[in-house]
Symmetry: C3
Subunit: 392 residues, 3 copies
Amino acid sequence: MNTLDKNVAELQKLTLGAYGKDFLLTWEKTDDEIRALMLVAECFYQMHKDRRPFRVFDTGLAVSIFRDKSTRTRFSFASAVNALGLGLSELDEEKSQVSHGETVRETANMISFMTEVIGIRDDMYLGEGNAYMREVAQAVQEGFEKGVLHQRPTIVNLQCDIDHPTQASADLLHLKNRFGSLENLRGKKLAMTWAYSPSYGKPLSVPQGIIGLMTRFGMDVSLAYPEGYGLIPDVVQTAGQNSRKSGGKFEVVSSMEEAFRGADVVYPKSWAPYDVMLKRTPLLKKGDKEGLKQLEKECLANNARYKSWECDEAKMKLTKGGNALYMHCLPADISNVSCSQGEVSKGVFEKYRLATYEEASYKPFIIAAMIFLSRVKDSPGLMKKLAAGAAR
Amino acid sequence: MNTLDKNVAELQKLTLGAYGKDFLLTWEKTDDEIRALMLVAECFYQMHKDRRPFRVFDTGLAVSIFRDKSTRTRFSFASAVNALGLGLSELDEEKSQVSHGETVRETANMISFMTEVIGIRDDMYLGEGNAYMREVAQAVQEGFEKGVLHQRPTIVNLQCDIDHPTQASADLLHLKNRFGSLENLRGKKLAMTWAYSPSYGKPLSVPQGIIGLMTRFGMDVSLAYPEGYGLIPDVVQTAGQNSRKSGGKFEVVSSMEEAFRGADVVYPKSWAPYDVMLKRTPLLKKGDKEGLKQLEKECLANNARYKSWECDEAKMKLTKGGNALYMHCLPADISNVSCSQGEVSKGVFEKYRLATYEEASYKPFIIAAMIFLSRVKDSPGLMKKLAAGAAR
Amino acid sequence: MNTLDKNVAELQKLTLGAYGKDFLLTWEKTDDEIRALMLVAECFYQMHKDRRPFRVFDTGLAVSIFRDKSTRTRFSFASAVNALGLGLSELDEEKSQVSHGETVRETANMISFMTEVIGIRDDMYLGEGNAYMREVAQAVQEGFEKGVLHQRPTIVNLQCDIDHPTQASADLLHLKNRFGSLENLRGKKLAMTWAYSPSYGKPLSVPQGIIGLMTRFGMDVSLAYPEGYGLIPDVVQTAGQNSRKSGGKFEVVSSMEEAFRGADVVYPKSWAPYDVMLKRTPLLKKGDKEGLKQLEKECLANNARYKSWECDEAKMKLTKGGNALYMHCLPADISNVSCSQGEVSKGVFEKYRLATYEEASYKPFIIAAMIFLSRVKDSPGLMKKLAAGAAR
């Protein structure tokens, strides 16, 4: 039995409740649903490698709303919906009537008459991004229930203030492949640590997504950051609960070195201080440029106190066999490449550069899998047909 | 016989001349062509509701040119062309050589080599939008006749200075469904009235489109506006002629109350004064910002004299049974929601909110029907096959 | 045997090495590969004329990167990829993380996970555009070899600082059709001459592409420009070598009149002086607006000395029978139409206007052919099936 057939067979055994559901936070999904996500993504990955199409829609629209810059996720979403057979329309809020004072409730329905999926990135405003996605979800739910929409589009979180589920899931698939199985992750130590960056205002969603998901499968997750750089308390609590439930470990430490010690995997990545992000939201909303400039200045000055939080060769030596897997959501701030001093030394990054590309390569398949599981009623059945080359 | 089959059967009986023709003004179409438009749109609507694709093209391009903001129409066009199997390319005049002084005649051909349909919104300049569409149409006609183009793309008016045919047609379909048939519209009173808005420069095309189309089917159309807010005289004359021909009524009155009295349907919607729109065109063309600011100031001051033109609960009481159908092309200026005082009170809008979404939901299917009728030679025959699930 | 079958039969006889290769410069392709490009483009052109689809992909992405304005090439690329069955995603560098200091090497891989072809226009910087394309090519090659990419996308040059191969190839196809065959081009005189324009900074890639390609098939190519307006010396040398190899002629002369004398084909087109383009690159990179303004002023002053380099009726009289074929990549600077004085008189342009549209009409088919030859292993075999209506 080849890998594809094996994955299809495993998929049949899971209890799935993803049909018709949005993908907003990984911790709203059951373990079986996360396992299914991995299996479906792997099937698509394998079919694509074999140059076999896995189109499931004849026509239909996918809408993306990017309220922040994006390359990887933008192209991953574009690739995923194209592979499934959907056409992509990007909602450019500048070119729409949104700027005419239209409500979210209304816009959500107006773009959804023939839409199967809406992907949203809204990661700038702490306390707002995920809430916006839920507002869109509620609006299309109402439209569907009241008969305005023939189908209720699935909302996929392409990064919010709380979670970055397409990234965390692609990262989990990367770990699954590197270590052989989800089971093999049990007891492996992952260091999710803050790192210095000369830039400002990076969202908290990647570290939150990582600790929220990797604690699900028995990993030993060590979160490290300098004082003042804590994450949303609720998410940290969720990570702790996940860890206890899965029989793993979860700790918060205060140095990169401590987190790296004996780690199998390291994920050094900058983010803005929680308090700064809290202050930033009202300033951004008011459009207070002077206030934002002042806040940025303070934040950068604060960051500069922690320039030693760089993932370099010396710190890598502390990891298991000096040889931990380095991960990053990209683009990384690489010392002497994209900045004078940053999150990672040139040597360490270059050693793992292609591994980070591989890590990123799973995202299109993860997104396709999220859509597939939500839109296809009998997803294991259809996957079996696709794998047998007999669908459509 | 289900509704789909009934509509298909009705379609076979009509005399159609839409093949190969543009859709620029509803009053250039025969009654049978309007009836066919409704029937085809309803067939597509029903097939979509049944989750059945109605793709008719294997490949091919649809081009959109938006010279003004748009959400509903933009996504309706995107949805329609996707459903028919076409790929969408938007002409962004900023990114093209149009800004290098290229002629309309040339650009029109350059974007049309493999293009089936060109959708255009050009509603800012009174006296220019529709003319621009005809210039594009003439250019591709020449290209086709001279053998430069293998096919002559259909031009679809996505709102101009004179008409907004996709909106008016979707509105007619909404009325057809609400009242049961086009025949049932006979003698029903529709109040197309101006309403107060704190914004400026709204096109005249919606009210013009409504009076131009709804007078075709024996409705009793009452147009109301304050002094100075008249519409293009030619269009008003056309509405009068339509009305006489169809055995309906058409009147112009000077208060919202008068129009609302006994109405079955009300359409309160702001537009700019005709004279202001006339003055605005040369200012926009010259890029005279100071002049535009001055004109806006005058216009807003003038608007402010008519703040009582709000569709509120009291005025709705004047309508048939106090219960007329409220319509709007969206987004509406809703008092205490999107502005402090606007076209409609919060209470009235909220009561009809989902009805306005339903109204909007017909537009993708109307646009798909316009394209289908223009591009498919034997459209009734192909529709019969599609309905039988046997096309392609 | 109809033309389509004849072309398919001819295609079987050629020795092809285009599979898996980028299309960056025409002179990197063998004569057989250029012949195949013409034949495949003609087959697609004929099938499109017959309203027969030639889709070869079920799904898959095409990415375009436009670092300069474009209408013709943008829509040609969009049309070509759509016709082949690919979805188009444009990389907008403003909306991506490119502006976050990401490396070309990284971005190239990030947009390529499910991408079949990347079309790039980068024509502003002498010494940089083609180099950038090669950097992208090298990056995806590495990604493919290291297993990050399942397929290695083809890079298609949509105009760089050195060549404009989609333009030159469409031009060659135009000539082939006008003169009956590539063989018939032998001995025909083509005048590629500079012409006056009131604008500044036009790339050298069109004249370079023309002299680099048209010298391949035995034409008598005469290049004319005022002092200081020479092209990249390497390209001129390549043209000379091509010419000697193909048994044609290649000369450089210093007046439009001399080049036009006895010409069968004239291609009067403005470009910036080589020295100016050399100085412009570092100024553009530094964002030195003052320096660029100064350089523009000098350049325009210099241009103005050569206002007599206009293709007018008098000069056309010097050509073979006074009746040479006028060519232009469009948009042309037409005297008294798009500017007060430009590259061509209104009368001459109007006479050949539709011929220039026809010239442009080949580009979508050329681009589709470039992609087809690079992505399809047995391209003659698949073309035979497509022509027989039996593919997919």
